[in-house]
């Protein structure tokens, strides 16, 4: 009985913390329409800051709490809203999710920069582990009482806020109809700001409460994911109801502790299962949620993607393969392998182009599907032993098919629901794979050791005469596979099937009203997409040669998605950019900087800081995606398409690039120089084209706009216009030398008179 009560109390405490975390999430989601994936990272950052105040700088506990919860929390929430989230109105759900994912990654990188993970940090219980009372034979520690009391207080507080205060009622209204809210005299911006502040405070609070309960070790990734468990609780309330969220949190906390307390000793996998439990519960909740109403396009979103023709895609595919071959000539074998790794990530990113860019659905667990593909290929598709062992084509084929099948099964429960729920289902699957599958390392595991010894040796692929043991062959094979898959994806988008996907993305309601059943369409695209992810995953593993659980990180899926969206989720080139960055670019830059740090005594600090800054910067770029939701590829395509008529400039640029290449090939300049010059040339060419050949590049309207004459030269290089004369006279108070100034605005466009007036003001001043 005592044990039962003890576990009950522990469960209640865990549930209380989940409730605090989940209610913050529900709050921000409902008032700003942004599902904050960074909620866990905010909690993590709060816990680290609290540690810094109380342990690092030795401030009193009360002061540390005030600084963390009372200052850091609100400031972080306000900053997030004002700097980032406010700009997300009118963007697709995908963009909203990716921006919060970028914040998550940014916070994790930031914390690893400030608090290097090599050093262990422990956060103790409030009032220590000895301060406790005993009720009915159960020892309840002070920290646990604090958790329970705070959860109850927050529940009561939120209830009062929503039902008894004007601003609370406004908060409930802001998502339903911001315009209506404005009519009733509320400022939706202020209401949303307040909710982000409150959500952030709740996250930080949850962070400093849950860390000691979870063992006290401060580890950025683990802490971030710990609070993501609270997402499951929020699902109980369909992300709307705070009371139901609390019920869900308690159920979650209790079931986790009872499971650990009462599972038979022979279930050695129960620890892993317990870690996965919230995600499994999330999955079950998705199964029983009632179907959403079919929705139209709620807002006109700002994302725009142009799809190339298949013919053009084939040409670019060939160009890509040739370019990669040329680049490989500059590289040492080690770099070629890194490059190959980047291309395998590009294949995985391609799965996101199809799923997210074309069909508007989400997958937050690409790496988990990569792991599934790898495991299947490992178990069925390897022949030979030792150095002679090879991955076979049927191993790849089985892996790809199995991944697609698993993808279908994962998506199935969420297909009836909105895109966000599918994203959460994949997140849950990612947690499941990370905790259950990749830790299933020996016979006592639930799956009987599906991931033997926690380390799979995946040899290079060999098909007929093509042996990927040679790095250059591997690079070219993977590049060709990427190009073929990319052309395939574009051909798919150009087909009737692709038009149906685009229709579903733009307006589910209208698509259904044309007779399209949405569930089979979503299911099929998810299966195809996860198959591609599986292919990329198998190639990745075979490039690495040896993979462990760390090769398939949960956060890796998120950063791949983020970088692909930055590149342009609706473009195959966006996938190429995102994959190369995620798989090779970031690694290469960070490794180079760290090498420099190790190599140079005095500057080592600066270089290792630069490496951290670079990581945070990638996340910052992700956060900026709200500004340009269509991605870099969109801008680049638009810019280069415009200068296409300026042929001489393009030929000149190509010739210059060839010179750079030859210089690099004969080691006159280093590879970094080559990369730098290429980027510079790429950036400058459009400007040069505009400057040298304006008639070819600019439209008639742009040419018609007169070139601005510097103010001080007006009257010298160019005569004063009548308007300028009038404006000068007016400013100087001189009598008008010309009649009827009222005719001037009619004669000249308004903008130009305004401009002249400003110019004149300068002249006079």
């Amino acid at each position: 009985m005592d044990t039962f009560l003890t576990f009950t109390v522990l469960g209640l405490v865990l549930g209380a913390v989940y409730a605090i975390a989940a209610s913050g999430l529900v709050l921000t989601y409902n008032t700003s329409g942004v599902f904050n994936f960074a909620h866990g990272a905010q909690a993590m950052l709060g816990a680290f800051m609290y540690w810094q105040f109380s342990v690092g700088w030795g401030l009193p506990v009360w002061l540390s709490v005030v600084l963390t919860v009372g200052v850091l929390g609100p400031v972080m929430g306000a900053a997030l809203y004002l700097l980032i989230m406010r700009g997300l109105r009118g963007t697709a759900e995908v963009t909203k999710i990716v921006v919060t994912v970028a914040v998550l990654l940014g916070f994790v990188y930031l914390s690893q920069w400030i608090w290097p993970p090599e050093e262990a940090r422990i956060l103790g219980l409030f009032f220590g582990s000895n301060a406790s009372i005993e009720v009915f034979g159960v020892v309840i520690r002070a920290h646990e009482i604090i958790c329970l009391v705070l959860a109850v207080a927050i529940a009561v507080g939120l209830r009062l806020l929503f039902h008894r205060t004007r601003v609370g009622v406004a908060m409930r209204g802001v998502v339903d109809d911001p315009d209506l809210l404005q009519l009733t005299g509320h400022d939706p911006e202020r209401v949303a700001l307040l909710s982000w502040v409150m959500g952030s405070v709740l996250a930080v609070l949850a962070g400093i409460l849950i860390t000691p309960i979870g063992g006290g070790a401060l580890e950025a990734n683990a802490l971030t994911l710990l609070v993501i468990d609270a997402f499951a609780a929020a699902m109980f309330g369909r992300l709307r109801s705070i009371p139901r969220t609390f019920v869900g949190a308690i159920v979650l906390g209790m079931s986790a502790t009872y499971l650990v307390g009462y599972a038979p000793a022979s279930w050695t996998w129960v620890g892993n299962f317990r870690a996965t439990l919230p995600m499994i519960i999330l999955f079950i909740v998705l199964l029983v949620l009632p179907q959403d109403r079919l929705r139209g396009a709620a807002t006109r979103t700002r994302e725009r993607y142009a799809v190339p023709t298949v013919r053009r895609a084939v040409v670019w595919g060939v160009v890509l393969v040739v370019a990669v071959w040329l680049l490989a000539q500059l590289m040492v074998p080690g770099s070629i392998t890194t490059f190959t790794l980047g291309m395998t990530f590009a294949v995985m990113a391609l799965s996101l182009t199809l799923l997210t860019g074309y069909a508007g659905e989400m997958n937050l667990a690409t790496m988990a599907f990569a792991a599934i593909g790898t495991i299947v290929a490992f178990h069925v598709g390897i022949v030979g032993a030792g150095l002679a062992s090879r991955l076979t084509w049927w191993g790849v084929a089985f892996g790809v098919l199995a991944t697609g099948l698993v993808g279908g099964l994962v998506a199935l429960p969420a297909l009836r629901l909105r895109g966000l729920y599918l994203a959460l289902a994949t997140l849950a699957f990612g947690g499941f794979v990370a905790n259950m599958v990749l830790r299933d390392i020996n016979e006592s595991g639930l799956f009987g050791g599906i991931f033997p010894d926690g380390n799979l040796l995946v040899p290079p692929l060999k098909v007929g005469p093509v042996d990927l043991r040679d790095p250059l062959t591997a690079l070219l094979t993977v590049t060709v596979l990427f190009a073929v898959a990319a052309v395939g994806v574009i051909a798919l988008r150009r087909s009737g099937y692709g038009r149906r996907l685009a229709a579903m993305k733009d307006s589910p309601a209208a698509t259904a009203m044309l007779g399209q059943s949405l569930v089979p369409l979503k299911l099929s695209v998810f299966v195809i997409s996860t198959s591609i992810a599986g292919l990329g995953g198998i190639l990745m593993s075979s490039t690495l040669g040896s993979v462990s659980a760390e090769s398939f990180p949960v956060l890796g899926s998120l950063s791949l998605l983020m970088l692909t969206v930055v590149g342009g989720i609706g473009y195959v080139s966006g996938a190429l950019f995102g994959g190369l960055m995620a798989g090779a670019g970031v690694v290469a830059v960070v490794a180079s900087l760290n090498n420099l740090a190790a190599g140079s005594e005095g500057l080592s600090n600066i270089y290792s800081t630069l490496a951290s800054v670079f990581l945070v910067l990638t996340a910052l770029v992700g956060m900026g995606v709200g500004e340009n939701p269509s991605g870099r590829a969109h801008l680049v395509t638009a810019t280069w398409r415009r200068i296409a008529p300026a042929r001489p400039v393009l030929i000149g640029a190509a010739a210059l690039e060839a010179v750079f290449y030859l210089l690099a090939l004969f080691h006159v300049i280093g590879n970094w120089w080559f990369a730098g010059l290429t980027v510079a040339l790429f950036a400058c060419t459009p400007r040069i084209a505009r400057a040298l050949m304006p008639s070819a590049v600019l439209t008639a309207e742009e040419l018609a706009v007169p070139r601005p004459v510097p103010l001080e030269q007006v009257g010298l290089d160019k005569p004063f216009t009548e308007e300028q004369r009038d404006a000068v006279d007016r400013e100087l108070g001189l009598p008008r030398h010309r009649p009827a100034p009222s005719t001037i605005p009619a004669a000249a466009p308004r903008a130009s008179t305004v401009a002249t007036r400003q110019e004149t003001a300068h002249v006079v001043a």
Partner: protein
């Protein structure tokens, strides 16, 4: 047996009754008008007929079969098509592809590509959209965008077409051509239900008009009868035309 029959449909949102015990019919080969002030429940009724909204009570029958619980996509495959008052165009697609995708869906993969392209061109021609066929659908004016919705619906070869304010945003000239097209379609046997604020257009085209006010039918009959109905004049025309 009527093409479409609505029997005693009621839709409640919370305590608010948006549609209250409405019964009406739409016959093949005719245009039936549905008018009423803003918020009268016209769009909600359309949503109920097309399956986007479950009614709290009442039934919807197509060809005499009860389809009240049939999902929207299946209703569409049985010959029902609609347009939306708040435009629901596919913004990633060109005008032509907006129309063609309806054919992609209706025929699955079975139809030859050339046939589909020809059919798309025919519908674009019929609706007078040929000149903007390759433009981005977000680039054309609202009045013509509404016609794209009509063209898309026609591409499914429907037997029943529900039009939700298709003429708003159209120029007078466009409306004339549009009216002629609708009359032609009805003459070919299509049953049309038209929600529209352009009363002269409704009076000109419809053989039967139903007037909805506060969710309830207050009058039904020929244009002449409805125009003279004192209740309608008081509740609808009196306020709407004055505004």
């Amino acid at each position: 047996m009527s093409l479409l029959e609505i029997r005693g449909v009621t839709v409640r949102f919370g305590g608010n009754t948006a549609v209250n015990d409405v019964s009406l019919e739409v016959e093949a080969g005719t245009i039936t008008g549905l008018i009423g002030p803003n918020g009268a429940g016209k769009t909600t009724l359309f949503n109920t007929v097309t399956g986007l909204q479950r009614p709290s009570a009442g039934r919807v029958l197509l060809d005499g079969d009860d389809i009240t619980r049939v999902p929207p996509a299946k209703r569409a495959r049985r010959g029902m098509a609609r347009t939306f008052q708040r435009l629901e165009l596919f913004l990633s697609l060109s005008v032509r592809d907006n129309v063609r995708v309806a054919g992609d869906i209706a025929r699955g993969g079975s139809r030859r590509r050339a046939d589909l392209a020809a059919e798309t061109d025919r519908v674009l021609e019929l609706t007078g959209l040929t000149d903007v066929a390759d433009r981005d659908v977000s680039d054309i004016p609202t009045g013509r965008a509404r016609v794209v919705e009509v063209a898309r619906a026609l591409m499914t070869s429907p037997r029943l077409l529900l039009l939700d304010e298709p003429a708003s945003g159209q120029t007078e000239h466009e409306t004339d051509a549009f009216a002629q097209m609708l009359a032609g379609l009805a003459a070919d046997g299509l049953g049309i239900c038209l929600v529209e604020h352009d009363l002269p257009l409704v009076m000109r085209l419809c053989s039967t008009i139903h007037v909805l006010d506060y969710g309830a039918l207050i009058a039904s009959g020929t244009p002449a009868e409805v125009q003279q109905d004192p209740g309608v004049v008081a509740a609808y025309i009196g306020t709407e035309t004055a505004a």
